[in-house]
Symmetry: C2
Subunit: 366 residues, 2 copies
């Protein structure tokens, strides 16, 4: 134990959603529905699947380390320069690369209460300190976050929308937040984690456009992913948009082949598959309505969400007890105690029949 770095000695292995096969095996169940990891219930874009099949013969070659073609395609789509785009094995890898590149022992980062655990882990890894600002109405309170900025602050992390609450900061709040900073200033980094961007942009009319601030020269880093609406969670590919000097610095620390060749080509193939995106959005919009309504009937409060998931209060029951009971019925959701919500579960929006099965089982166990 004394041999382990003190910085990571208290790390706990991340607890992912349970895989379907494991639940089937352990509980001897045939029908298991997984609504636990905010995956796209419709699956991957068919264009991505086609590309995987076509390229599977080429996996003996190392990936193109610079990811040039994908970065160029993203830059074109986003209206930024190729040199302002970095790829990661999921956007979480970019969080860690940011830390490894920039976080010193004497630095601080500011996060929100109930935010994604991996921001703090990136800081812990390098011995930096994490300051947690309170939420307001289960939403990031940007002004409260700003009040914790001092000369040691290296970065602020805003999950927008936040997982697991599904809440977001809107255009007006963001505009006010940016009035605290100046274009051209180099730090602190204002990191907006937009893993659910494609959903939120549709579901929230006042969802802010952070690339706008990026283009004005604020020290903005925007993180997005192919794991959610694009349906490539299993392939590990995400991206960040950041000032060129930040990308260049991170590129020295980035593992040289961090995004697999199949992930790169699948991402390129599906980047502009509008049909799949539209279908996926429709499923989620409908599913959120359905689930919210059904929860209301059951007397279970929900938090309005602009992601493909929903937080449900099961108070006074414990989320982890309900999780266990649902599991035995064949529905995998997530208990939220590790995020500081002992009386909530989080349910990913599934296909209509999956949502109905969840509601059916929930009624049985309540």
């Amino acid at each position: 134990m004394y041999l382990i770095r003190p910085e990571v000695r208290n790390f706990q292995p991340y607890l992912p959603g349970k895989p379907i096969a494991e639940v089937q095996r352990e509980l001897g169940l045939k029908r298991v529905v997984k609504l636990a990891s905010n995956e796209n219930a419709l699956g991957a874009s068919p264009k991505a699947v086609q590309s995987l099949r076509k390229n599977s013969q080429n996996v003996f070659r190392y990936p193109e380390g610079a990811g040039t073609i994908l970065r160029r395609a993203l830059a074109r789509k986003l209206g930024v320069r190729e040199s302002e785009v970095i790829l990661g094995a999921g956007s979480d890898e970019i969080i860690e690369i940011l830390g490894k590149t920039f976080f010193n022992r004497e630095d601080e980062i500011v996060v929100s209460q109930h935010a994604f655990i991996r921001y703090k882990m990136a800081a812990d890894l390098l011995g930096a300190k994490t300051i947690e600002a309170p939420m307001k109405n289960q939403t990031h309170d940007l002004q409260a976050m700003f009040r914790n900025v001092n000369r040691r602050t290296k970065a602020l992390f805003v999950a927008n929308p936040n997982n697991p609450t599904g809440t977001y900061v809107n255009r007006q709040e963001v505009e006010l937040f940016f009035s605290n900073f100046k274009p051209g200033q180099l730090s602190p980094f204002l990191i907006f984690d937009e893993a659910y961007y494609e959903y939120s942009k549709e579901l929230a009319p006042d969802y802010p456009d952070l690339l706008n601030y990026f283009r004005k020269g604020y020290p903005v880093v925007v993180l997005r992913t192919f794991s959610k609406i694009y349906g490539l969670a299993g392939l590990r590919v995400g991206y960040g948009v950041a000032p060129q000097w930040v990308v260049e610095a991170m590129d020295r620390v980035r593992p040289p082949f961090n995004v697999s060749s199949l992930a790169q080509s699948a991402a390129i193939a599906c980047l502009n598959d509008r049909a799949h995106i539209q279908k996926s959005l429709a499923i989620v919009r409908e599913g959120l309505d359905y689930l919210t309504q059904e929860m209301r009937r059951l007397g279970l409060p929900t938090i309005p969400s602009v992601g493909n998931f929903l937080m449900v209060s099961v108070s006074p029951l414990l989320g982890k007890n309900l999780f266990q009971k649902l599991l035995r019925k064949g529905v995998i959701v997530r208990a939220m105690d590790e995020y500081g919500f002992p009386n909530h579960i989080r349910v990913t929006v599934g296909l209509p029949q999956e949502n109905r099965f969840f509601v059916h089982c929930l009624k049985e166990v309540l």
Copy 2:
């Protein structure tokens, strides 16, 4: 610049071998042969390719984070416990995870001169110091490495065989080396990087069995990969065998989904594809003989190799000049100045016709 961690400020982005498509595009060449990254010229195991096609529809799910099935298959094959196996996105990720878990600022690691650059980078990342022991006959000198061990030494890294020299430490040298340590001692970690294990075991009758020392309780970590003989370089999957407490510690620091779902299933599919391994070995054995002979005819000394690559001295020419000239002919090799060999090139053993094309072009440019 002052915002970047001092530990990584001098990092240079890793320079991978040039991709074929890039060379074709840049130089307007049709036939381009890549002998630059020690990939398996025969390609991936057909069983792996089949598995990729079969599983491509499932990429919308997150990978099984613990990698249970692959770790179990590896444990069975190697005669170790599942809890003694860790998976990485290539074995290089495991090198970095080792560093993030164990290397403190006041620690030292010992490496050999002319060794893989990423051992030092893992130490640099955490502010640990790298001590470089000299080589003897272009081979790791284990006794010289041991002479640099002191109470601050956290790990010794032995690349066996070493890339780029292709040389190895044999059974006798390893036995002598281990007489310096005791079974049951916890550190320093004795890390044997066996990326070319499957080749060396066949090509060198006295190639040592490190798992043997592992089983006796020495603090051994063995690193292997699916990137070389298994032909899965593009998928990023490797593994390490280490004492259970070491695996448990690294598991806290390991990114939760570090090995993609397709990489896991492809690795499982090809792990026991003996036919493909045998064919790949035959190609390399034959290719090494052919290339060594042809270089001798050209008066170019080679270093006997037990990997799928060969170091060729082109002295008094500069390796990087010859690299450029060969590139313009359509052959990608690697100049070795970054490894401290300014007058060498490294050539990966290709298919027979690829090897012949290399020799043909080499004759033209000399």
